[in-house]
Amino acid sequence: MSAQRKDSPEKTFAEQMAAETGIDVRKCYQCGKCTAGCPMVPEMDYTPSQIMRLVQIGDREAALRSATIWYCASCLTCSTRCPQEVKIAEFMDALRERSLKAKKVNPRARKIIAFVKSFLGGIRRAGRVHEISMVMEYKTRARDLFSDVLLAPVMFVKGKLKLLGKPVKDRQAVARIFERTAGAK
């Protein structure tokens, strides 16, 4: 099974994730309370409880390739209400991170990743997010140039969009944070 890592064949995917994140998905008894409360389920290919199931049965491939992990809004409703105290939303973060590293990102996540990259790119460059630059970068990355074109002028008039951002003075310090956390688990 794809779940088995070569260097530690005795550890299942769930055990491996538990060791790395402290979140033990084996506690999940598939009650579905996470799915019931999840606002993003209509956008997902698997429900949150099904993602837990995929990890339980060791289907690493399907879990990392799912669209669900990208459509999680991190609203934490699932983690707050889980009767088994599984930190489901936090676990989605961990799956996303591994999905990116393993280059198994679901094609439906393209726009979401474009957004994340534009967002983080802005921080990396300026230490702060300048919304216009971020949105422009996102639109280029996502090849989504024409959405909300009518909203932008209104926002501009209302003073919600500023042409120039106020970057951090010590930009090197921020760039260093990105460098030094890049290879981390």
């Binding site: 606002p39 993003m40 209509p42 956008e43 459509y71 809004a73 991190s74 609203c75 934490l76 409703t77 983690s79 707050t80 930190k87 973060d93 961990a94 996303r96 991170e97 990116l100 726009k111 979401i112 474009a114 957004f115 994340v116 967002f119 983080l120 802005g122 921080i123 230490g127 702060r128 997010v129 300048h130 919304e131 216009i132 949105v135 996102y138 996502a142 989504d144 959405s147 909300d148 909203l151 209104v154 926002m155 209302k158 003073g159 919600k160 969009l161 500023k162 951002g165 106020k166 951090v168 310090a173 921020v174 260093r176 944070i177 990105f178 030094r180 956390t181 890049a182 981390a184 688990k185």
Partner: protein, 277 residues
């Protein structure tokens, strides 16, 4: 006590009125705030969703700066910022193994203890008496739906703020203005947060449900304390909804007599002035 003010990126842009109203209100209530020098973005969900350590290090730099500048607490009105700051700090205090990695990444020492981090509601909650005493324009007769969203109350054990299922603090602050808080069912439901651009349809769907319920339970306006919630609810309303979305600081500011212009009441996409008149 030196209070560090951390506006965060949104308050410098789309949520300018949140920033304006916090500053104006702080002045009106004589609550001095000092902006943290050279603060950086908290990374929001984008950082922690894709790189755990980055999600800790970005807020860590701002907290370390605040401590180095002699701040004894931080007021972070943006719910996303306060949540990230609290969660990151909780994590390194809980797991001492992380401290070294984070300090290496930010090239600064972290404060040894816990630096209190207050969201917008916590900033105002201790001063209810002051608000009541300063009341110039009570909002009597206004029915408001207090909306907390996710990040103010979750994860409950980490943010340790109010009741995650039935919070009451925003209602308490709103009540001090004379407004009437309605009982409604979507106070802690998610608005779609960061999907504003990358999955706009989701946000429209989620905001629609929230606003429908607020309307059906009789609210004249929705009160928020988070720029992400505000942006989504204000800009992604279903046709014909026209529900004003007002920051808590704007509501209180208006009640204590701050000029509407200083509160940025004209900056909303969905107009708020008629409802507040």
């Amino acid at each position: 006590m030196a209070t560090g003010y951390y506006p965060g990126c949104s308050l410098e842009g789309t949520a300018a009125e949140f920033d304006m109203s916090i500053r104006a209100l702080a002045e009106a209530l004589q609550l001095p705030l000092t902006e943290i020098e050279d603060w950086n973005c908290c990374g929001a969900s984008a950082a922690h969703q894709t790189n755990h350590l980055l999600g800790l290090a970005l807020p860590a730099r701002t907290i370390a700066l605040a401590a180095a500048q002699g701040m004894e607490e931080i007021v972070a009105p943006c719910a996303a910022c306060s949540n990230r700051l609290i969660a990151a700090q909780a994590e390194w205090l809980d797991n001492s193994g992380l401290r070294g990695d984070i300090e290496h990444a930010i090239g600064m020492p972290l404060p040894a203890g816990r630096l209190p981090i207050r969201n917008c509601i916590e900033f105002l909650l201790p001063h209810i008496e002051k608000i009541t005493a300063a009341l110039r324009k009570p909002l009597t007769g206004k029915k408001v739906a207090c909306y907390y969203g996710c990040l103010l109350v979750r994860p409950p054990k980490v943010v340790a703020f109010d009741d995650p299922e039935n919070p009451v603090t925003m209602e308490k602050v709103a009540a001090a203005t004379g407004a009437e808080a309605v009982d409604w069912g979507f106070r802690t439901e998610c608005c779609g947060a960061a999907f504003a651009m990358s999955s706009t349809a989701s946000v429209v769907r989620l905001c629609g449900r929230i606003l429908d319920n607020a309307r059906s339970e009789g609210a004249h306006m929705v009160i928020v304390a988070c720029p992400l919630c505000h942006a989504n609810l204000d800009m992604r309303q279903p046709k014909g909804m026209a529900m004003p979305i007002v920051y808590l600081s704007q509501l209180v500011g208006l009640a204590v007599g701050v000029a509407p212009k200083a509160l940025g009441l004209g900056k909303h996409i969905t107009p708020v002035a008629p409802a507040l008149a």
